[in-house]
Structures are given as C-alpha cells and as structure tokens.
C-alpha cells in the first residue's frame, strides 16, 4: 500500500500547489486553531494568499475535480472515502483560517458523506443489477462541470480585443455625429393643429360670433345625451349633418358645460380618445 505522494512534475501547470517532498513532511492537516497563524510566515505566504485558495477553486465541484485530477484518478471511479477525507481537510483549513466558506462547500461535504455511507452498506445480492452507483449523480455533475470549465478556458484563450488585438481608430475631420434635424412639412403641422382643435377648443371668437344656434340650447341637449351617467365618446356628440356651425356650437356648449363643471372631459393619456360624462348624474347612478 503506497503512501508515497504522487509526484507531479513541476512543469505541470495543473498542479497549482506544486508539492515537493520536504513540504509534504509538514501535514497541514494538523494545522488548527492558533497554529494556523504561524504558517503564513513559515511559508512566506503573501498576505492575501489564503484568499487565493478560495479564488483558486470555483466552488466544491472545482475543488473535487482538482483532488481527483491531481491524483490521476479516474473520474468514473472516484475513491469516495479518500476523496471525502481530503475534501474535508480542505474545508477544515478554509474554516480554520476563517475564509468565508460558501455554503455550497458544506453541502458538498454532506453529499460526499452520504455517498460514502451508502457505499459502505452491504449490497443486497438479489438487487445487484438494479442498484445504481451512489456516485453516479456526482460523477455526472463533475463531468458536466469539467466540460464548462474547459469551455471557459477555450473562451479565455480566444484572441480578444484589448488583450491580443486592437481595433483601429483613424481620425476623421470631425468625428462627431452629424445630427440632422428631422424634416417637417406644413401639412404635418396643420394636421397636428387640427388634432388639437379636436381635443380642445381654442375659443376662436369668429366661430362663436356667427352662431345661429343657441349654445345654451345645445348645452341642454348635450346634458340630455349624457343623462345616463355613462362615458360618451367625444366624437359621438357631434352631428356632422349640421355642418360646421353646428359642430362649433356643440363644441362651445361642451366648453361651457365644462367650465360650469357640469360635465367631465376625460382623456386617459395624450392622444387617446376623449370621453364626456355628466357630473351631475354622477352621484345618482
């Protein structure tokens, strides 16, 4: 039974902890409590080195993968007992040196412990075929994670702007955006104004001067239409057959009514249809 460390060549970038024989004489597993504080000095650990540990591992799956890969173990046949032991050791150290330990690491510890215990249970002979390897799910996750870990490395290696290349910038006389003002024609303007007229009267004096129909009378008619207390579309209150004057008179009547607060003119938002409603019947309905 070998207890000798697996030597990993110093050239292997994968072995981030680049172990050497002497260093392995000092098992960090014994490092607990106060003794942890002395380690950094002995090992010339830069002040932020401990945080690096956590940054090195992108989570429990990454740590597990590291443990497995670094020992050249087959991912499909993880020796759960040993891996769990090592994993726990890391957790312990991280905990001891008060690294903020993500909860996921503890969850993984529990998963490992559970798998380990299930593996220790004797398998019933008759169900050997159906029994799934308790490690299967973990293996699947490890494989999937490793897939994306590699994909991330591939993306990281792509030649990218700012790091591997630069986009050209040649000066042009004035590179500012030439912002042309939109064109407008008078027709648009006139139509806009027509819409305003539709919405609100501008009390053009000449329109009212010539009224032959009584505005007062029309006010009464409008109120009658609105008697039911419901909202009526503005446009429905006009009778085109009456011609221009009739329309103007109706409009004037509405304005008078609005001024006297006898009707409400409602528009939900700009340019949406206008509705009229009687204010007086409001309470009765």
């Amino acid at each position: 039974m070998s207890t000798a460390p697996v030597e990993i060549g110093p050239t292997m970038p994968v072995d981030i902890f680049g172990s050497t024989p002497q260093q392995q004489e000092m098992p960090l597993a014994r490092v607990r409590g106060e003794s942890v504080l002395s380690i950094p000095q002995d090992l010339y650990i830069p002040p932020d080195a401990l945080e690096v540990i956590l940054e090195v591992f992108e989570g429990p799956l990454d740590l597990l993968l590291y443990l497995i890969r670094r020992q050249n173990l087959n991912i499909l046949d993880i020796p759960i007992a040993a891996i769990t032991q090592q994993y726990m050791k890391y957790i312990e150290i991280m905990h001891e040196i008060k690294l903020e330990l993500a909860a996921e690491y503890l969850v993984m510890a529990a998963i490992l412990a559970e798998i380990k215990s299930r593996l220790l249970l004797p398998r019933p002979l008759n169900t050997e075929v159906a029994e799934e390897d308790p490690r299967a799910e973990l293996i699947r996750r490890l494989q999937e994670y490793e897939q994306f870990k590699l994909a991330a490395e591939n993306i990281g290696a792509l030649p990218r702007v700012e790091r591997d290349t630069w986009v050209t910038h040649v000066a042009a006389d004035s590179q500012k955006v030439i912002r042309l003002p939109p064109a407008m024609d008078l027709q648009e303007l006139v139509l806009a104004f027509k819409d305003i007229l539709k919405k609100v009267d501008l009390r053009a004096p000449h329109a009212i001067q010539r009224d032959t129909l009584s505005v007062r009378q029309r006010m009464g008619e409008v109120l009658k239409t609105l008697e039911d207390g419901a909202f009526h579309p503005f446009a429905n209150l006009f009778t085109p057959d009456e011609g221009r004057l009739g329309v103007v008179v109706t409009f004037a009547a509405m304005l008078e009514l609005a001024k006297d607060r006898l009707i409400e003119i409602v528009q939900e938002r700009p340019f949406s249809p206008i509705y009229l409603k009687s204010s007086t019947t409001d309470g009765n309905v």
């Binding site: 040649v170 000066a171 042009a172 919405k199 609100v200």
Partner: protein, 222 residues
Amino acid sequence: MQLEQIKNIIEASLLASQEPLSRTALSNLFDGQDAVSTKQITQCLDALKSACNGRGIQLVEVASGYRYQVRTDTYPWISRLWKERPQRYSRALLETLALITYRQPITRGEIEQVRGVVVSTPIMRTLEEREWVRVVGHRDTPGHPALYGTTREFLDYFNLKSLDELPPLADIRELTKLEPQLLPDETSSNPDATHPPHPAIPTSLNTMTHEPPHTDSQEQPS
C-alpha cells in the same frame, strides 16, 4: 530588427492609437535589444507617408505627433458613417409648434392648458435651437411667463411669406383629412357656393404636398 518590421509596428501603432504619437512615443515602442534609431523612425514614417498616396487616408504630423486621418476629399463618404438618420418629430413637438404658430404669442402654461400635458423642456429647446420659435416678450402676470412666437426662419422653412398664408383656423376645423378635393383645380376663384370657401387652403396645401419645403436633401456628396 528589420526596417520592414519596424515600419509595420509603427503603422499599426498609429492606426490603433486614439491620439497622435510623437517620435518619442514611437521610439518607446522599441526598447532594449529592439531599440531603433531616430533615423529608422524617420525612414519608416516617410515610407508610410508615401504609401498613403492615392488612398483615402493620409499620415500627417500635427502638434502632438503623427496620426493617420481621413483625407478631406474622402470625408464626404466617410461622414455618412456618423450621420444619424433623421427621425420624425414627436406628436408633442408638432402640437406645441402648432399652438405657438396659431396662438402666438403664447406662454408655456397656456400651451399646457390646451394640450392638457406638461410641455417638456427638450421640446422647447429643440424648437428654439431650430430657430423656429423664440421668446417675443413676457406676459404681465405673476411670474412674468415668457411669450413665444414663431420666427422668420420658421416662415422660410415652410416657404411662407407671412403667417397669413397659413391655412386659417376656421378651415382647419373643417378638415377631416387633406383630400384631393382641396387640390388646385377647385380653385378659390370658383368656389362652390354650397361649400364655404377655402381661400387659402387649396393653394397652400398644394404647395405643401407637392413641394415639401426643404427636406434635408442637400447632405449627399455628389
């Protein structure tokens, strides 16, 4: 280092840099064993300059150093890259302008009263920047609000000699849409008696539709 390589590096640096690069800055690209002489830099710059002959860019020396720039005669095409497509004016702007046109002088508050919504400052600024609208005075009420009116430029833009040429209010009220019947043959000289005469509309609307007074069409290089 080969002169060719030095030249390539200088060219790429000048093209990549946002700022002009001085000779010193160019020298600093090469140091240690790569160090190049001033003479080499000059040779390369000269070669790069001549390489621009007949192209759309040129290498020039400005106060702070060398830079590539687009040749003036190529600029008309290049400038299309930065041109924003003109968008339409918003409904709110049109209505505001329409109110100022027909009800001038008018205060912002009055416009808001009619439109029922606040007149946004960007709209007023746009109208003023375009020089279509300006402050013509102040109303003698509390706060002395500014009174807005239209400008000469406004009339010019719409090919109007005076505001009188605008379709009169009463006729606008009648408009449902700008229909063919408003076109020239139904001239004001021969109005149908049963219809109220539209003296100004036919002519001016015709002008409007067929000759949209300057759209921004002159911007293209020939």
